[in-house]
Symmetry: C2
Subunit: 419 residues, 2 copies
């Protein structure tokens, strides 16, 4: 590619951040030819002739050889990106929801039209995790990739644990500051980190998982009781996204709040910071930390993709080609803390074993082992009962095959034991 001529979709926080960096960065030459925006009445920081409201002014413009897509609307983004790829243009996007939902098709479009789609900024803001998975860990045997993939919830959890505040109070503050959307579900419900997890799992294990099939438990139901429990044990609670190998044939992925000890790498990851832990056979533990949001950090990730397109860089999706044998499985047991009010809930969930049980006036909790399959099955029940689930992070031994039978037996026995 000779000179990079950009057609930019969206001029919000990240779009303006990118424009700012392009102006200030030394030695990098790329021209923003045109910017397509939605709202006609908004006051802009650039001259009017930069802007258009017609996407074809960019997509059908032979002067533009790179589309940078930085809009919020995932459906519209999908239309823009697929059209651009079909028109033979390279694309850089930051839209995690769009990429996660359509990754398989997007990979095929790249191959078919011999173009490149890069999306480093879609996952964990300024942390160069996708490029490192593609380039540096391309021959590694990865065991797990996990971490804090959402800055908004991490900001909320940091406030709660470091300033002793209640969840509803912090959420309101965060909304007022613009750190969280008016409808906060995407963040606090764990959907945003789930999209990132699906993308990262594709580059870690070569497997395309439908986000709808993946469990995301958020932090909406966190109460002062849960916070105090964690505090007394010396833990923090972080919203952790995990992708890991179960065995040679299967991997699993999930987003669940997790207890973190002071010695844990994630313990000091605070506020809008994101972090990724890579566990691999040869390089062992590697840890990456960086800002998960913001115009400049995310804009920088976008720029690094633009810069890589100078030499026509493309993701190889090597693991996808190599590890076709890997499947997504939810057949794994987790030890969880469950805080709940209604005893009936417990029976419906199907714990395999319960090792601790507490009953109070308003709140009860158990610590026990449950399958990920059962958690997925009962997700909306947990939500409607205002129960709160935290992964203890402790490793549970692999289960036998006659799983369901053992479950009921264990539960009855354990409940007898602790009552």
């Amino acid at each position: 590619m000779s000179k990079i001529k950009i057609g930019l979709f969206g001029f919000g926080v990240v779009g303006q951040g990118l424009h700012d960096i392009l102006n200030k960065s030394k030695g990098f030459k790329a021209e923003v030819v045109k910017i397509c925006v939605k709202t006609k009445t908004k006051k802009r920081t650039l001259p009017e002739n930069y802007f258009t409201f017609d996407k074809n002014d960019l997509l059908a413009n032979p002067d533009i050889n790179l589309i940078v897509e930085l809009i919020d609307d995932a459906e519209e983004a999908y239309k823009i990106v697929t059209t651009a790829l079909k028109n033979g243009k390279n694309v850089v996007t930051a839209n995690k929801k769009m990429v996660a939902n359509h990754l398989e098709e997007l990979v095929q479009l790249q191959q078919k039209h011999n173009v490149s789609l890069l999306y480093e900024a879609s996952s964990c803001g300024s942390i160069p995790i996708i490029r490192n998975l593609e380039e540096y860990y391309d021959n590694e045997l990865l065991n797990s990739v996990s971490g804090i993939f959402n800055g908004s919830t991490n900001y909320i959890l940091s406030k709660i644990f470091n300033e002793n505040m209640s969840y509803p109070v912090v959420l309101k503050q965060a909304q007022e500051l613009g750190f969280v959307e008016t409808d906060p579900t995407l963040d606090v419900g764990g959907f945003d980190p789930k999209f990132k997890l699906v993308i990262i799992a594709a580059h870690s294990f070569g497997i395309f998982i439908n986000p709808d099939d993946v469990l995301n438990i958020g932090i909406q139901n966190l109460t002062d009781f849960d916070f105090q429990y964690a505090r007394e044990k010396g833990y923090k609670i972080k919203l952790v996204a995990t992708a890991k190998k179960i065995d040679e044939k299967n991997i699993t992925v999930f987003v669940i709040p997790q207890f973190i000890k002071p010695s844990g790498h994630l313990y000091n990851v605070e506020n809008e910071y994101n972090a990724v832990i890579v566990e691999a056979a040869f390089s062992d533990t590697q840890f990456f930390l960086g800002k998960g949001a913001g115009g400049h950090p995310t804009g920088m990730a976008v720029l690094s993709d633009i810069s890589a397109l100078r030499y026509n860089y493309r993701y190889e999706y090597k693991r996808h080609l190599q590890h076709q044998e890997l499947a997504y499985s939810t057949n794994i047991d987790l030890e969880i803390y469950l805080r709940y009010s209604n005893e009936n809930l417990l029976n419906k969930l199907g714990f395999k074993s319960i090792t601790e049980r507490f009953s109070g006036v308003n709140d009860n909790y158990v610590i026990g082992v449950i399958s990920l399959t059962n958690l997925i099955k009962n997700k909306s029940l947990l939500q409607s009962e205002n129960a709160f689930v935290v992964n203890t992070g402790r490793v549970v031994n692999p289960k036998s095959s006659n799983e369901e039978k053992r479950t009921e037996k264990n539960l009855t026995e354990t409940v007898k034991l602790v009552q």
Copy 2:
């Protein structure tokens, strides 16, 4: 490049680690054609016909298109690497001392002979710092790159702080375990992290600094008194390598032990782990952690370089081409803790100001501001007096130009004040 055919120099910990990874890694095809080793009598884990003792069997072999150099001897490594480059072969090396001492010439040789020299494994083991500086931060405005670049000293310091042990005891143990060489100076004297720092500074700021011009204060003089001082303040001591911008024209680099607070990113970096903190204008703080040593982690870094040579990857040294205007300067003030016995030492050092002073039966310390220039000038004096220097890490205000005059005045005044 078609099929990668490797001529390997050295079959020690890293060489064997690499060979092991090449065998176990899926999908990556590279053939080790021949291995050149030094000691004829050593028992090897591979068949005899793999080995040779004549370097020309590799360097002049038209069947070999890649030289991987993993020997200890920096002088011999220099001869091997330069000959290979001149013979038109790509080279991967892990030899930090060789690269740091000859970087400018090695860059020229790459250009002249149109070949590639990669050395990710030379700096911070498994952390992909050089590739990220080259690829991800290539358009960033970097303010500083710093961290723990030496696993052996970090292992020793971890033992001291976490297990309440004395430096000489831990050093002896580490030597017996093979974590530190019989002559430990390269590690505990801070030479090894200095070589890495010089390489990282080249890729961060585009400047080639002679390692001989860079201050390295090690941990050899650390006593129980220093340890207890840090402990009481709630600090750990880590051996920190720092490269940072002073102003638009100057950067500075140094290796000095540093106090680290519990909230600091380096506080929980323990044992053989290395860590790098990148501070940049747009992406802000980024933190990388990984194993700094060992056959597999370092072998993995070597493999990532070999893998990149599949598509003829070369470092661009873009910052070197862009930022020719940057110069190396030692004209910077540091606030240090100095523990010493002989009062005369203090007068010779030329502190600019002293804010704390303690006198005990055997040990004295001061906290004060001193220029890096003065520390360099008095390095051997500090060593021979068994004094211990720790950077407090606090930022000192920029000094005026009539530096030397102010120094003496301040010193006299402050000494009066505290006596």
